[in-house]
């Protein structure tokens, strides 16, 4: 049961071979068994989960049918979830029980999905290794000496270790794709504006986008069908007709032009990752995909531009955590200013404070033009690189990460090295494009490798089509860490 896809689980539920309660119990058991080792979940609340499963069972008994009705789904703890702790991986919100639901959570509730628990993450989604959580690091289920990737590390780990059939995540600079890659699961970040940010605790609002992680392209397409949709409460939510992201899964891929950016295959790419990605490209070529060499010349400027823009937005967004309306308040203060300063000093972790300071600097008088405006102009150049590339190809392929999962503790004292982990993922957020990662083999120490698929705006169905076809040619996505499953 733990290894089955959402379509099979859904069919078993509708045919009464299993109840939603039984399904939730099985995954809860696996989650509880492994969580002390892997730390993938911040909150498990079996009573609440089983109550939702019972409600789903009643809806099933009434003949209701929806692809996700009765299916357990874990949610990244960045999503406000009514009645559940919604901590965002921070001491600041360690006791915050959300009084309302994020739009994404509302959509899953309406579909009848069952909340399995809230997954661990880098604090305020700032990180590439999931070592920045107030609740401790998540371990990579393939090798517990390794990081799972971040910031949606708990979600990727939980899917890989079969603690949940699928999970939600968010991606500001690679936070769905990187952990999906390092944990050997499938994840997609849709086009900016497709999934509402309402109730998704903000990091960098012009880049943040929610999306699903699962065992296959088909599973994440099913989740995206529920997550996507217009919401007036997010001023950047796009008003578009509903898409069915499963509609093109089985289309042939012969003749598809796949762009290979030379900058994504240059210096810095690990030889093990290169070998796995090239093997994947060989498979796709055999199926009739046509490789086209392309160039994204501003790739080296992506990380520098991101570390101006994202911290600038973060310093503004995180100003709301002041110990007044919600969250942590220091017990030690004499006046208002000291209350703010100590609340924020004690409530935020080191990386969050670092990014707030960077943001405060680049937005300050005298530096705004030199840094913030300059980075916004470079952002335009990066988006233009993609616009030109998509005149030559239908999708872009490359590695998701330059290396397989690195060891815990190996980069977290050197922020610049950590930031460069996102070298292949960040451009997609700056341009607002959709991107995904699918498992394509294993590299050093038997750690998973991910193939990144980047599409043009609103081409998620096409990307999922390619990913699904690839998953029919290979079985990487069906592999699970033997010791755990």
């Amino acid at each position: 049961m733990l290894n089955q896809g959402i379509s099979e689980l859904g069919a078993a539920l509708r045919e009464r071979k299993v109840s939603s309660r039984e399904l939730a119990q099985q995954f809860l058991q696996q989650a509880q068994r492994l969580n002390s080792q892997l730390n993938a979940f911040i909150s498990l609340d079996p009573e609440k989960t089983l109550a939702e499963a019972d409600a789903a069972d009643r809806r099933l008994a009434q003949g209701e049918s929806h692809a996700l009705l009765g299916i357990p789904i874990a949610h990244k703890d960045v999503f406000c979830t009514e009645g559940w702790l919604s901590t965002c991986g921070s001491r600041m919100l360690a006791n915050f029980r959300s009084p309302y639901d994020a739009h994404v959570i509302e959509r899953f509730k309406a579909a009848g999905a069952v909340n399995l628990g809230k997954t661990n993450m880098d604090e305020f989604a700032m990180g590439s290794s999931n070592e920045n959580s107030y609740f401790g690091p998540v371990k990579n289920p393939w090798d517990q000496r390794a990081v799972p990737g971040g910031s949606s590390g708990g979600s990727a780990c939980a899917v890989a270790a079969r603690m949940t059939p699928a999970a939600t995540g968010t991606d500001t600079g690679g936070s769905i794709r990187l952990p999906a890659s390092l944990c050997g699961v499938t994840g997609i970040k849709p086009t900016y504006g497709v999934v509402s940010r309402y109730g998704m605790i903000a990091y960098a609002s012009s880049l943040d986008q929610g999306g699903p992680l699962g065992k296959s392209a088909r599973d994440v397409a099913l989740l995206l069908n529920t997550m996507a949709g217009f919401d007036a409460r997010d001023s950047t939510s796009l008003e578009r007709p509903a898409d069915d992201y499963t509609r093109a899964l089985d289309r042939p891929i012969a003749g598809l032009k796949v762009g290979l950016p030379k900058e994504y295959f240059g210096e810095g790419l690990g030889s093990d990752v290169r070998a796995a990605v090239e093997q994947a490209l060989t498979e796709l070529r055999r199926s009739g995909c046509e490789p086209v060499e392309i160039s994204l010349p501003n790739t080296p400027l992506c990380v520098p531009a991101y570390y101006v823009l994202a911290p600038a937005e973060a310093s503004s967004n995180l100003a709301r955590f002041d110990g007044v309306r919600y969250g942590y308040r220091t017990p030690h203060y004499a006046d208002l200013k000291e209350m703010y300063q100590r609340t924020r000093a004690e409530g935020f972790g080191v990386e969050v404070k670092r990014r707030i300071l960077i943001g405060a600097y680049v937005l300050s008088h005298g530096y705004y033009d030199a840094y913030y405006l300059k980075a916004q102009k470079v952002r335009r150049l990066i988006a233009q690189d993609f616009a030109l590339a998509f005149k030559q190809c239908d999708v872009i392929l490359g590695p998701t990460s330059p290396t397989v999962a690195f060891d815990l503790g190996s980069k977290n004292q050197d922020p610049v090295q950590m930031y460069l982990t996102d070298i292949y993922t960040i451009a997609v957020n700056l341009a607002g494009l959709p991107g995904m990662s699918v498992p394509c083999g294993f590299g050093d120490k038997g750690r998973p490798v991910g193939l990144q698929i980047i599409g043009n705006y609103f081409s998620e169905a096409r990307m999922l089509n390619l990913a699904h076809r690839f998953q029919q040619l290979t079985d990487w996505h069906t592999r699970a860490p033997d010791a755990l499953v």
């Binding site: 012009s206 501003n298 080296p300 570390y307 208002l336 300050s364």
Partner: protein, 95 residues
Amino acid sequence: MSLSLDDVQRLALLARIAISQEEAEAALGQLNDIFTLIEQLQAADTRGVEPMSHAQDVSQRLRVDEATEEDSHVRFQQVAPQVEADLYLVPKVIE
């Protein structure tokens, strides 16, 4: 460019984050490493390039000017650190 210890203290003050001398010293080196990375932007030729602030070229949606939110203050104030008579309490700011 590089930051000084005073700059770090000033930024922390602007951001309302209490910072000890040791923390400021530890932050200084790492922030300077990060600004060295960011400096690479200066090499880009951006003459005549419009700044891009948003991924989609869309304009702000407008709506009819009427109240749509219900009053939820009781629910929202349940998660506040300190509330009295429907008001959020903070230390006295005016003597």
